[in-house]
Structures are given as C-alpha cells and as structure tokens.
Amino acid sequence: MASARLDKLKSLLKRVEDRRAKPRLHAVAAPRPAAAPAAALADLEELSTTTQRVAAPSIAPEPLRPAAAPEPARPTAKGPLDDALDDFGTDAPLEVRALAEPITAPRPEPRPLLIDPPRELPEPAVTYRPEPISLPARPSMPTPGMLAPVVPLQVAGASTNVTSKDTLEFGIPRIELPVPKGELSGPTQTVEPAPLAAAAPPARAVSAARVEVARSFGELLELSLSLRPR
C-alpha cells in the first residue's frame, strides 16, 4: 500500500514538473464527478500528512462538498500543482485546453525601427565622396602642335595647306604676304567672286596683283562698315 502511494506521489510530482515545463498550457481537470470517491479523498488526506516534505506548500485537500452540488469549473487561475492535486485519485483524464490566446513563441517587445531619420540631422547619415582626383602638374591644355588643324589658309590671296609641322601657334601661321604686308587682297584663288555688274569695281579690287597701302584692321573694318547700297 505504501509503495503504491509512493508511486502515485512520484507520478504526481512528475506531472507537476511537466506542467511547469509548459507554461503556456493550462491543465484543467475535467469537472469532478458528482460522487467523488470518498476513499480517494481519504487517501489524499493521508498523503498530505505523510508526504509534506515533498509537496508541502500546496497539497491542501479541498474541502468536501455535498455530493449533490457539483463543483463548478475551477478557475483557471489555479496553479498547475493545485490542478494536479485535484486530479489525484481520480480516473478523469487530464484535458489540455489551449488558452484563448494563440500559443506562440513569446514575441520580443517591438523596438522602434530607425528607418525614418529625425527631421533635423546635424549631418548626413551616409556620405558618399568621390575619390580624390590627382591633377597633373599642368592641367591639360594641348600644345599648339596638337591643335594645329590641316586647313587651307585663306589669307593674303594664297591657299596653303598648313600642317602642324609648319604651323606656328595654334595652326595659324605667321603670314608672309605675297603683296605688301598687311594687305588682305581677297579670297582664295579658288573662290573668285562671280562677275559683277558692269559698274562694279570689286573684281579688280580683290586682285592679288593690286598693291595697296598696308592698312590696319581698324581701317579695313571702317572701310567695310562704310559700304552702303548703291
């Protein structure tokens, strides 16, 4: 008899431990049958006096109630040990009832996500900077020879193909005029003006053979600006 009780006690303790290991589940005993076996209650009383060293704090037998009055459903606030003790000595299977709330892993407290930065930032959160550029000692202007175009020179009545070899300063050579220096005697020979009207002198004026007094740029400009329709 004592061995059987000891076995029951061990089983009870194991169930208690199991329930403690599952804190989110609440074990609720089935409603006690109206006629609880008195022997079981007696056993419980005896057990409570002989095994206090094992489960002393909470093994308090429930008071006997009239058999006619069914015990209301126990509040779920009872501890798992109390519930297990209630089942002690009964054959009613434990009913594992889920709590109203879903059984999920405990969620950590939500932390504020630092996605939206504060409105006022003393400096940008991330700054992308270009790599430093190393400049050459002398920045980058091509030499005159590099810029020298190969174009026919159309000054002073002579058309000359100018290359970088014989070009002075940016492709525009010093001009050796076949006519007195400073005289721009007309367009190239390949671009002769069309025959002019009968009284028009310009065709003769642009002739390279005609020698005029050297004029400055300003004088030539004034001359051109003084032209008016006939």
């Binding site: 550029i133 001009i175 050297a214 300003g218 051109s224 008016r228």
Partner: protein
C-alpha cells in the same frame, strides 16, 4: 599700325577645378562645357524669336578674350595678327576656325568647322558680330551668305538689306557689287 603679339598662346586657357566642379578661363571667367545639341535648339529658338542678344553678348566676351590675348588695340593691329588671336580664341571654345577675306572694300569672315545651330546661321552671325563689335569699338553686323560659310561685315543699318539679298540667293560677289563706299 602697331605690331602686337602675333603669337596666340592657347596654353593654360582653361583651369579645371575638379574639386569644385568649375571651369574658368585664364581670365577668370567661368564657362560651361556644353553639347552643341543643347546649344543648337536654344540658338535656333532665339533666332526664330528675333532675339539673339545673348549670342551676341557671348561674341563680345570672346572678342574681349581675343583682345586681351592680342595685348593691344585691335583696331591698330595688323589684320593677320588680329585674325590669329580671334581665330585661336574661337577655336578654343569650339566655334571653328576663322579666316578673313577682303572682297573689294568689303571684309568677309569665313568660319569653317562651326557647329550648326540654326538653319540660316543667324546665331553664328550674331556671335561674329559681337566679336567684331568688341574688337572694332563700334557696332558691327555680320550677314550670313547663303550656301556657304561666309559672313559679310556691314554696318548694322544695312544688315537687313544685305540679308534680304542673301536670302534671295544672291552670290557674294554680286552682293559686294551692289555696295559702294558711302561718300563722306
């Protein structure tokens, strides 16, 4: 007639400040490097609206650059010396190369390799007019001659008339033949 420096030095014309993202000329003027595909529509629109003031102002700045490079009063300089500096400055800025022709009493500019900005080349005419206005110290008009790269230099008061002749297809020789030096 004086003999200012005939050598045009393109060296150090641009100063690229990459750390600040700025480009300056050697005279301290900040400039932009732009695509001709951007400038072309702007100039064409300005030409359609009859207001090429901005392009002419640009030409004046180029003329100032050329005058500084020349180092002397352009009006007193030799034509070839002035042409050297003007053409060099224009070429540095990408406007092509310039030559100067004299057709009788008329001066004619020929700009080759210039970007195409507007169909009638009025933008280039305004640019060259601005250049010569600065160099000559008085208002100058350049009128594009149809079918070529030439611009005849005339007084602004007759520019419309000459432009009318050019639009009719009159050749340069004939246009010059229709002009005569105004009696003093």
């Amino acid at each position: 007639m004086t003999s200012p420096s005939s050598a045009f030095d393109p060296g150090d014309y641009y100063a690229f400040d990459l750390s600040r993202g700025a480009v300056h000329t050697r005279h301290g003027e900040r400039v932009l490097v732009l695509s001709t595909e951007v400038i072309g529509p702007l100039v064409s629109t300005a030409a359609r609206h009859g207001d090429l003031t901005a392009v002419r102002a640009l030409g004046k700045r180029i003329g100032e650059d050329a005058a500084r490079s020349l180092g002397d009063d352009a009006r007193r300089g030799a034509p070839e010396a002035v042409l050297t500096h003007v053409s060099g400055t224009l070429a540095l800025l990408g406007w092509g190369t310039l030559t100067l022709e004299r057709w009788g009493s008329a001066l004619v500019l020929a700009l080759s390799g210039a970007p195409s900005l507007d169909p009638d080349r009025l933008g280039l005419a305004a640019l060259l007019g601005g250049v010569l206005t600065t160099l000559g110290g008085r208002d100058v008009a350049c009128v594009p001659i149809a079918g070529g790269t030439r611009f005849v230099i005339v007084h602004p008061s007759i520019a419309e008339t000459v432009w009318g002749w050019a639009k009719e297809g009159t050749e340069l020789g004939q246009i010059v033949g229709r002009l005569a030096v105004e009696a003093a």
